[in-house]
Amino acid sequence: MWKFIHQLASPPHFYRIAQILLPWLYVPGLLLIGYGTYAGLFLAPMDYQQGDAFRIIYVHVPSAYLSMLAYMTMAVSAGIGLIWRIKLSHAVAAAAAPLGAWFTFLALATGSIWGKPMWGTWWEWGDPRLTSELIMLFLYFGYMALRGAIDDTSKADRASAVLALVGAVNVPIIHFSVEWWSSLHQGPTLIKEGGPAMDPGMLYPLLAMILGFTFIFGALLLRRVRAEVLFRERRTRWVKNLVLSGGN
């Protein structure tokens, strides 16, 4: 088992295996998203309070969930890279950040569009989730800016890893404090927490979307990590052989 992990973490192996893995993530991901979109838009029953506008949650919730997942991926792999000095996991952290930022942006945009018919404004500071997402986006920007400011890859890896870990400690605190802050004036919330009360007809498409988005996130992550690995290993024999032989 340990040997297998070690082998996977070796860049040439990872590079090859990731390529083989890609279709196994894309196909189920796209199928799930296809089903989720169709079922979410046309099959799921209408919410009696929000009408058809509630269907926005089928893209909002998965992207909000992914913005968290990407941050966790980033922080955990940065921590692993910092402690065990595994270069591959730094590459994962570097690849996760821009994806996380994009999904955070998507969560913010869809949340804001949802807010217009529901609250009558494009932006409602009273909603803790939107506010947390906004701070999340700033955290991603900070992380990517720090990475961009340091030329030396190994130095950038470790410095941004420290930042990611400090951020990871802070993320729950930020959520908690924003929650407290908005509770002071009884703001509206985007999604009701009533999980069990949700109609299965509404729930299954949502689960399909979340799972599908996660698969696609995995695929995008692998693609980016492959590029990162190629860049970091650009001076090694195997990369040169690969490029000389025109492989991919």
């Binding site: 893209v59 942006f105 590029a227 190629l230 000389l244």
Partner: protein, 51 residues
């Protein structure tokens, strides 16, 4: 099939379209990154030899 989404069509469709755009952009950016790194290595090898 109610494409107007009970009057909320503009909002709902914009959100789904936006999600599609973001996914496509992410995919495109990832491919672009890979291509760029690959081409840089090619240029390097041509310029400096493969030693």
């Amino acid at each position: 099939m109610d494409l107007s989404m009970g009057g909320y069509g503009a909002y709902v469709w914009t959100c789904f379209a936006l999600a599609g755009v973001v996914l496509v952009v992410c995919e495109w950016r990832a491919r672009l990154l890979q291509r760029r790194v690959y081409r840089d290595i090619e240029v390097r090898i041509k310029a400096l030899g493969d030693s």
